[in-house]
């Protein structure tokens, strides 16, 4: 319950953060992505942005791997909040800049943590899948019978042909001599059979 309330508060904070972005977008003539980068870096450094400062920030980001990861995380978070704003079509003004900066920092750390949490579960899922695959492979091995001889299809075909031809010969004999050799009984026909 408490966690849900915190999440709701965070969402409210992110929503309130959005109008500030809009204002800057309108002011500047740069493209959207660049504007986002500017805003993000300014907030994280907690200083007013200038062209020289922007240049130095970008250089530091490109050098450090961890920083670039955090940057991408932050960017994704910002995009998410922006999407929410577009969906809700809500706006508010009159937010104190200093308070907003503090809230923004909190949001940033929250985004990073949530991303880490999300990354953890796929790993465990992967482990589960691996285990399942191992089980299935072992089952397959168990099902496979040992190496034993099997006659070729041609050999089996020859056997059935020979046995079936024996059947035909017996039928001819029975018809010719009207005697059932299987049941050892005489049948109606040309010959008369007496039992000895």
């Amino acid at each position: 319950m408490s966690e849900r309330k915190r999440e709701l508060a965070e969402e409210a904070s992110s929503t309130s953060f959005s109008p500030l972005k809009k204002t800057k977008l309108n002011d500047s003539s740069d493209s959207s992505p660049d504007s986002h980068d500017v805003i993000v870096f300014a907030v994280s450094s907690s200083s007013v942005a200038s062209s020289a400062a922007l240049a130095s920030d970008e250089c530091s980001v490109t050098i450090g791997g961890e920083e670039s990861d955090q940057s991408s995380s932050i960017s994704s978070g910002c995009f998410t909040s922006e999407s929410k704003e577009i969906a809700k079509n809500s706006s508010s003004f009159g937010v104190d800049l200093e308070d907003h900066q503090i809230e923004t920092e909190t949001e940033t750390s929250t985004f990073i943590t949530s991303n880490f949490r999300k990354e953890t579960s796929p790993v465990s899922e992967g482990l589960g899948e691996t285990t399942t695959e191992m089980e299935s492979s072992s089952a397959t091995k168990r099902k496979q019978p040992g190496v034993r001889k099997t006659p070729t299809a041609a050999e089996i075909e020859d056997l059935f042909s020979e046995l079936e031809s024996q059947d035909d010969k017996k039928k001819q004999f029975i018809e010719k001599y009207n005697f059932d050799i299987v049941n050892d009984e005489p049948l109606e026909g040309r010959y008369k059979w007496d039992r000895l």
Binding site: P145, R148, P151, E155, L163, V182, N183
Partner: protein, 298 residues
């Protein structure tokens, strides 16, 4: 006929598995013993479910390859042990095998053909007699030298069915045993399930030798019932129940059973060889239950 016989076979099967009092009371209420009329009808038909008359003679004089039957028999017994099939299934499988071999020669020099025939006969018997039948690939247990695809076994099954004229619900000694036990012991009710179980095991063991092939199914059943009941053949008066049976032949079977094996007393030239072979594989193939059963008889 078949419809009436089936419950009896089922009850025989259940007897073999369970000795509980509840089961016995259920049998007493649910499954009547075979009537006199049914038994006479079975005796008339049993010859149609037997190998051809000259089968035993040809086995003894070498016309038929004696080892073919031994090889098939060996695998069938081993598979039945591993798959937990009962003596009823063994008797049926051996019945199909003998009937087929008595009218069809397998090509010589190809051992795998014997194995394929054995698998087909056991599969058919299991489908008639058992409630849990594994798939054809899983049926081929006991580490056989040859293994066959399901379609090959099915084709051999069809061939066996045609040769046996689709008469699979065969009259075997197992069909009579409960009837004879009830007559010998004077029971109006179900004979004790332990007697039935032991009788079925003894009947199954008679399939190991060829010498019992000389006798009819009803004669073997009567002799086994007398042996298991502890009756002496000389003292027992053959009542109306046994009027259709020849006393001397039944007595001879009893003597063969008491000798604890399938030893032959025939006068054939191959007598020594046959006896040696019979004894050797009889020992190697006997199960604990059959051995203990035969021991208790002697």
């Amino acid at each position: 006929m078949a419809e009436f016989m089936e419950p009896n076979l089922v009850s025989n099967f259940d007897d073999e598995k369970s000795n509980s009092v509840d089961t016995r009371s259920i049998f007493q209420m649910g499954f009547p013993l075979e009537s006199e009329e049914i038994v006479r009808e079975m005796i008339e038909k049993e010859r149609q479910h037997s190998p051809r008359d000259d089968y035993l003679k040809r086995l003894r004089n070498g016309d038929l390859d004696f080892n073919v039957r031994i090889q098939a028999l060996g695998w069938i017994w081993k598979a039945c042990e591993e798959l937990q099939f009962g003596p009823l299934c063994i008797c049926l499988a051996m019945n199909y095998l003998d009937r087929f071999l008595s009218v069809h020669d397998l090509p010589s020099g190809k051992a795998w053909t014997v194995q394929l025939l054995a698998v087909a006969c056991l599969s058919l018997a299991a489908k008639i007699e058992e409630t849990n039948v594994p798939e054809l690939m899983q049926l081929q247990v006991g580490a056989p030298m040859f293994v066959f695809e399901a379609k090959s076994v099915q084709r051999m099954e069809l061939l066996v069915l045609n040769v046996l004229r689709w008469r699979l619900r065969a009259v075997t000694p197992c069909s009579y045993v409960r009837y004879f036990l009830s007559k010998i012991n004077g029971y109006d009710q179900e004979p004790h399930s332990r007697l039935v179980t032991r009788s079925l095991q003894v009947i199954a063991s008679t399939t190991k030798g060829i010498d019992f092939l000389e006798f009819r199914a009803s004669e073997i059943a009567a002799a086994v019932a007398l042996s298991v009941s502890g009756e002496h053949f000389d003292k027992f008066s053959f009542s109306s129940s046994f009027s259709s049976l020849e006393k001397e032949r039944v007595k001879k079977i009893g003597e063969m059973i008491e000798r604890d094996g399938s030893s032959s007393s025939s006068q054939t030239p191959n007598n020594t060889v046959l006896q040696f072979k019979s004894r050797r594989y009889s020992h190697s193939l006997s199960t604990a239950s059959v051995s203990s059963s035969l021991t208790s008889l002697s």
